[in-house]
């Protein structure tokens, strides 16, 4: 073979046949010039790959992916109510996870420790004695070197025999969630937390090989490392803080400021405090996954399903039964969010005092399990739900799954068909008259789709309704799998129940705001002509079109400006067409609202929840309606 740059280049990319490969390697041994050329090529490639910058995009990206999925997620568990059970399970290991990270580094650092760890795990195949664990990968590496090194003539560093888990940018913990072993991963760079099962990837080349309580086995290629979660000793931290608390977050300048949730508090070391919980509220969505006190600083890290991330710094005081965190809070996204003053108050929940919240979550979980079983049944039966709930047994639901106290509940089952025959909205769009002006074409599109639904839009509706005696609540599960709870003691009289309804409705409107934004982004900045054309691409769960307190089957949210261009908004208000003018207009012009007023506040005055163009929602009292909202609607 003669010198052939083309062959060298292709050889470098592994794009040559076996024959050519051998020829190139034989030639390289003899030809210093080609070795030099290959080395130059290699360096060019290496330099191209040199990327000094960490883009760090995936967190923002996942936030956007979450936003796209938001309706789906909400249906799996309406905001924080649904997460609480999971959170509670995760919580108990919160402090441990942090401990484990430092421990794990030590364990893999010495061969003896990793042997012990490997021997401890039942997940390793019996025929793999612990002492072979490290040798096997080394053999592979040496074999590769012998085959490659003489031919290419460059130095190779042998790969690490067993990968070093202490360098991984994550913290891990294994827990049992019910019967199911799961690994909880916290990425140290972003604080983002994920819950995964066996077989899931942790990093692109590392996956979870096995999970047992307190232990996670990671696998990269043939190498496995077992990480063991350590138990904290009694001397660490002040144990009197550990336990279940009710947390309330107060944001200054927010109309209904208090957000609350049951959270778990663990103290892993003196002066360090971890609060785990998920706090979400329609008025000011905050997902509070962990709050860590470091010296005088309190760091809140947001978790999954979040609409906002926040950093908090400030002071923390506690007396054993109450914790007060105070500081400035700023949403990380969007970047220009204002700094807000926030106070987080945690009150310890003692036995028998406020158990209803915990019980309520158990009830909701029960209904969710039922809904999921019904959905599985419908999936197997052409979208038809069973005639009676008994049909679910035993293939779709086991007796244990729906255990609990049957005397405590009354189940009403509605049955029917799951949403099917959804019009192909994209095809209908393609069929519309493309010569029409854009808004008219959008409206024609919506009208066609509505006609196809024939009044059955939105699909779905309540599937089961379970009335509990203790606590006195009614949990309604819908065909789409979402679950909502109302207090059974007369919805109109209970302030707490009204607040839950208000939160739920505000959430619906917020999600509709997202739907409008996403739609406009993809349709020349026009708002949707109605809701029907946004399903199922943007509205994935039609339940968000129903008001939680209204039994009507129709759409409970009115879109004030259908098929309207974004650029129209500042015109209505007469604001200048610049950034400040637009911002002012967008925050005052209503975009959508509840169709019917409700008595939300303590005053009992009728009010409607309104979504504004910029995506925020407000409860607008009917006494203000004429001045604040009506003029804009008339303008249309």
């Amino acid at each position: 073979m003669r010198c052939d740059s083309a062959a060298l280049s292709a050889y470098l990319d592994g794009e040559v046949s076996e024959d050519v490969r051998q020829a190139v390697e034989a030639h390289l041994e003899q030809c210093a010039e080609c070795r030099a050329e290959l080395e130059r090529f290699r360096r060019i490639d290496a330099m191209l790959g040199v990327e000094s910058e960490q883009p760090g995009l995936h967190l923002e990206l996942m936030r956007r992916a979450d936003a796209e999925d938001a309706p789906v997620h909400e249906s799996a568990g309406p905001s924080w109510w649904g997460y609480a059970a999971v959170v509670a399970a995760m919580v108990s290991i919160a402090g441990l996870a942090a401990l484990m990270y430092s421990r794990s580094g030590r364990e893999v650092a010495t061969p003896a420790a990793s042997e012990v760890a490997a021997a401890e795990t039942p997940a390793l195949p019996a025929e793999t004695p612990a002492d072979q664990e490290e040798e096997a990968p080394v053999e592979v590496a040496e074999a590769e070197m012998e085959a490659v090194q003489p031919a290419v003539g460059i130095e190779l560093t042998p790969p690490e025999p067993v990968f070093d888990a202490s360098t991984l940018p994550l913290e891990l913990a294994g827990v049992l969630m019910g019967e199911k072993p799961v690994a909880i991963i916290t990425y140290t760079a972003t604080g983002r937390q994920r819950t995964v099962g066996v077989g899931a990837f942790v990093l692109p080349d590392i996956r979870v090989a096995a999970v047992a309580k307190g232990k996670v086995t990671l696998r990269r290629g043939d190498a496995e490392v077992v990480l063991t979660v350590g138990r904290k000793s009694a001397s660490q931290g002040s144990r009197d803080l550990d336990g279940t608390w009710l947390a309330r977050v107060f944001l200054d300048g927010s109309s209904n400021a208090a957000l609350e949730d049951v959270v778990q508090i663990t103290t892993s070391a003196p002066g360090s405090l971890t609060i785990q919980g998920q706090i979400d509220n329609s008025a000011s969505p905050i997902t509070l996954a962990t709050a860590t006190l470091k010296g005088d600083y309190l760091v809140l890290n947001a978790g999954e399903g979040l609409l906002a991330e926040c950093d908090v710094s400030g002071s923390v005081t506690h007396d054993g039964t109450r914790i007060r965190l105070e500081g400035d809070i700023r949403m990380v996204s969007p970047e220009d969010s204002p700094v807000q003053h926030a106070v987080v108050e945690c009150k310890k929940i003692t036995e028998g005092k406020e158990p209803d919240l915990v019980k309520q979550k158990e009830c909701e979980e029960e209904v969710r399990v039922l809904c999921k079983a019904l959905q599985r049944y419908a999936d197997d039966h052409d979208g038809q739900f069973p005639g009676t709930l008994r049909d679910l047994l035993p293939n779709y639901l086991s007796a244990e799954e729906i255990g609990g106290d049957s005397a405590n509940r009354t189940i009403r089952y509605f049955g029917g068909a799951s949403p099917s025959n959804v019009p192909d909205v994209q095809r209908i769009w393609d069929e519309t008259d493309s010569t029409l002006p854009y808004p008219d074409r959008l409206m024609a599109w919506e009208n066609r789709i509505e006609a196809l639904w024939g009044g059955d839009f939105p699909p779905g509706g309540p599937l089961i309704e379970v009335e509990y005696k203790d606590p006195a609540i009614t949990v309604v599960g819908s065909a789409s799998g979402s679950v909502r709870t109302t207090s059974a003691e007369g919805a109109a009289t209970s302030a707490a129940a009204m607040r839950a309804i208000m939160d739920s409705s505000s959430n619906n409107l917020k999600q509709l705001g997202l739907v409008v934004r996403m739609f406009a982004n993809e349709h020349n900045d026009y708002t949707p002509p109605g809701w029907a054309c946004t399903y199922p691409e943007y509205i994935t769960d039609p339940e968000i079109l129903r008001h939680p307190a209204d039994a009507s089957a129709g759409i409970d949210y009115e879109l004030f400006f259908p098929a309207t261009h974004d650029g129209f908004v500042h015109e209505i208000t007469g604001q200048p067409d610049d950034a400040t003018g637009r911002a002012a207009a967008w925050s005052t012009v209503p975009l959508a609202a509840e169709r019917t007023p409700h008595r939300y506040g303590a005053s009992g005055e009728l009010a409607r929840i309104v979504l504004f163009w910029d995506g925020h929602v407000e409860v607008v009292r009917m006494s203000e309606w004429e001045t604040r909202i009506a003029p804009y609607i008339e303008y249309r």
Partner: protein
């Protein structure tokens, strides 16, 4: 490792969100590198990479990915290429170089930034096809067949373009009298 990647891709195709996040962790840096060299602006590149990954995500969620040949990785780079080309068309008269804005007091970072600058210049002087081909190879580790599909060319052309790009880059960097830095080389 390769099998792990195949498995990951399979999980991504099925619309598994966790797998997608892991996929993003692995691909965002090379993808960013590729797009950045194409559009020459870090902020625009970030936007584009997000758009690329969101599109992949949407395709995964809609089940479209399972019907496609090729890996999500190749698809991501293919989409990235198309978006970058569109982007450049829209910003045809704007030429920006933003290297150096990430220079830190560390010497190594300064050196890296300088290296980056030389390389960006050298890349910019390449014909578009050559530049795209070598960049897809270097950042995306795509096979010739995958690059060919992304660029709408034949694998044979890709092979030639990559060779010419490598030769030209080596020349350009040599001509500028710059030592071809001790870039970390590794077996691929």
């Amino acid at each position: 490792m390769e099998r792990a990647e195949d498995d990951l891709h399979a999980q991504v195709c099925q619309g598994d969100k966790n797998a997608f996040e892991v996929f993003c962790l692995g691909i965002e840096k090379p993808l960013f590198g590729y797009v950045r060299q194409a559009v020459k602006d870090s902020d625009d590149a970030k936007e584009l990479v997000q758009e690329v990954l969101l599109r992949v995500y949407r395709m995964a969620r809609s089940g479209e990915l399972t019907q496609r040949r090729g890996s999500p990785r190749a698809l991501a780079f293919s989409i990235a290429h198309n978006l970058a080309v569109d982007h450049l068309r829209h910003h045809a008269n704007v030429t920006r170089f933003d290297h150096g804005d990430h220079v830190t007091p560390h010497v190594s970072a300064v050196e890296r930034a300088l290296l980056r600058e030389q390389l960006d210049k050298a890349l910019a002087d390449l014909p578009e096809n050559h530049r795209s081909a070598i960049a897809l190879r270097a950042f995306g580790q795509l096979s010739y067949a995958e690059i060919a599909e992304a660029l709408g060319a034949t694998p044979a052309s890709v092979k030639t373009w990559i060779l010419r790009a490598r030769r030209r880059l080596a020349e350009l960097l040599d001509r500028d009298g710059q030592y071809l830095g001790e870039g970390h080389h590794e077996m691929r």
